[in-house]
């Protein structure tokens, strides 16, 4: 992340985008390459004025290359950096403000990070600029504990969406309205009916909230 973006890879991304013209393009607030090494994971970013500028530069470059607005997704994080001085929600909002990008709200990530850092997911969502959200992600997480026995959730994408995440989902769409929603289940992928049921649950939650809003 501290280096310029890989121009060849950007060119490949542009070719892919032009070939498939997706309805939406998003990437995570994370890093995965450094000093020529690609780590194939979403690694955490300290939230400082310096990293904010760096991320904004990269998003500008991606948006200029693709010629379209991208969405930036909030990450699941497992630890914090002492050097961080900015709240994640403010960090995301400021990036969107400076670059014009939209946001992708992964509600499982909100719940995972809030649990891992003993903060409130509701407070996080209250601070989140919902008006900039172009898409929602939902997923299942694994549960473990840290060195002191404190709950530690892992964004595993290998099981159904947890009940508290569904509750947060309803809370978000009650405020933000109807939004494209993706169920992420890419490890231990189940049979189709199980997967379809998750999508049906999202559909039902959306319908329930919309009825309540209309009433």
């Amino acid at each position: 992340m501290a280096r310029p973006l890989d121009k060849e890879h950007l060119a490949r991304l542009k070719a892919l985008e032009q070939r498939y013209r997706p309805a939406s393009f998003s990437e995570h607030l994370a890093w995965s390459s450094h000093e020529e090494v690609f780590l194939n994971d979403l690694l955490p970013v300290p939230y400082t004025p310096e990293t904010l500028r760096r991320v904004c530069d990269h998003i500008d470059e991606v948006q200029e290359t693709l010629g379209r607005r991208m969405l930036l997704e909030n990450p699941s994080t497992y630890l914090l950096f002492e050097e961080s001085t900015i709240e994640e929600t403010d960090f995301l909002a400021e990036i969107a403000q400076r670059t014009g990008c939209g946001l992708l709200l992964d509600i499982n990530n909100v719940f995972v990070s809030a649990t891992n850092h003993a903060t409130s997911p509701e407070t996080y969502l209250d601070r989140f600029p919902l008006g900039l959200v172009g898409e929602i992600h939902l997923a299942g997480h694994a549960e473990t504990v840290d060195d002191a026995g404190a709950p530690l959730l892992i964004d595993a994408h290998d099981r159904p969406v947890a009940d508290p995440v569904w509750a947060l989902y309803e809370r978000v769409i009650a405020q933000a309205g109807r939004l494209p929603t993706l169920i992420e289940w890419d490890n231990d992928v189940p049979d189709w009916p199980v997967l379809a049921r998750e999508a049906a649950l999202a559909e039902a939650a959306m319908a329930r909230v919309m009825r309540a809003r209309a009433a």
């Binding site: 690609f38 994971d41 690694l43 300290p46 400082t48 310096e50 760096r54 504990v145 060195d147 892992i154």
Partner: protein
């Protein structure tokens, strides 16, 4: 500052024995060993999964647990230098040769090389193979001038083991006893949609290797005869078209 944070993170995430990077924190003030271990596991297992998808026959040979242990060791010592994971693992055969626990499966590195060749053939550029009519225009008197444009998916592999036979048996083919443990020369290519693996006849490897480096047909045939006096030139030339190896014959 950011570059330092990332460098320290990268080094520690690839080395489970390394100390945690400076500057990490957790809400409860506890040393975040288990928290950092999630990133270590994600990186190791994510890269191992990329290798597992590229080497299915090798997994069938050594078992999933053995392969995963090998893949994690490899990933930590040789993390990818490119975000294109479809190319990841080209150094795995050499790594496996030096990996003590794999020593007794001496043919494993060559099976890996064959799997790499198949993956490369799969991802190689498309090209239209030459039609049988292209052979009719060949003047036997001018073979010394004819150069062959080889299909971009063609890969050649020479092994001291019956590598294609072993691969076949571990890629869904029927298991049978291998009586003849002599080496095999293998052609991998993808003339159209499907990757094909063929055992080359005597001289076939030298013939195709010479053609691919730009030698004309006659010189390639000489190389093949030098290696295998019973090399069948007519069959080899017919095979250039039948197996979709040649795209064009140029005079």
């Amino acid at each position: 500052m950011l570059a330092n944070t990332q460098s320290a993170f990268r080094l520690a995430v690839l080395d489970p024995a390394a100390a945690l990077p400076q500057g990490l924190a957790a809400h409860n003030g506890v040393t975040p060993n288990r928290r950092f271990a999630i990133y270590r596991d994600n990186v190791a297992l994510g890269l191992a999964a990329a290798l597992e998808s590229r080497f299915p026959a090798s997994i069938a040979i050594v078992g999933a647990d053995f392969f995963r242990a090998l893949a994690i060791r490899f990933a930590r010592e040789h993390p990818p230098r490119s975000p294109l994971l479809l190319d990841y693992g080209d150094q795995l055969p050499a790594f496996t040769e030096a990996f003590e626990p794999a020593r007794e499966v001496a043919y494993l590195p060559d099976v890996m090389r064959l799997e790499i060749a198949r993956a490369q053939a799969y991802h190689a550029a498309d090209a239209e193979p030459a039609s049988p009519a292209a052979l009719k225009g060949l003047d036997p008197a001018r073979l010394h001038e004819v150069r062959v444009e080889i299909h971009p998916a063609v890969r050649l592999l020479r092994s001291a083991f019956p590598v294609a036979t072993i691969w076949q048996m571990n890629a869904g083919g029927e298991a049978r006893e291998i009586v003849d443990w002599s080496g095999e020369d293998v052609l991998v290519t993808r003339p159209r949609l499907d990757v094909e693996v063929q055992i080359l006849p005597p001289g076939g490897y030298a013939f195709l290797a010479a053609l691919r480096t730009g030698h004309p047909l006659e010189a390639a045939a000489e190389a093949a005869f030098a290696e295998a006096p019973d090399f069948n030139l007519a069959a080899a030339i017919a095979g250039l078209v039948a197996a979709g190896i040649a795209c064009r014959f140029e005079i």
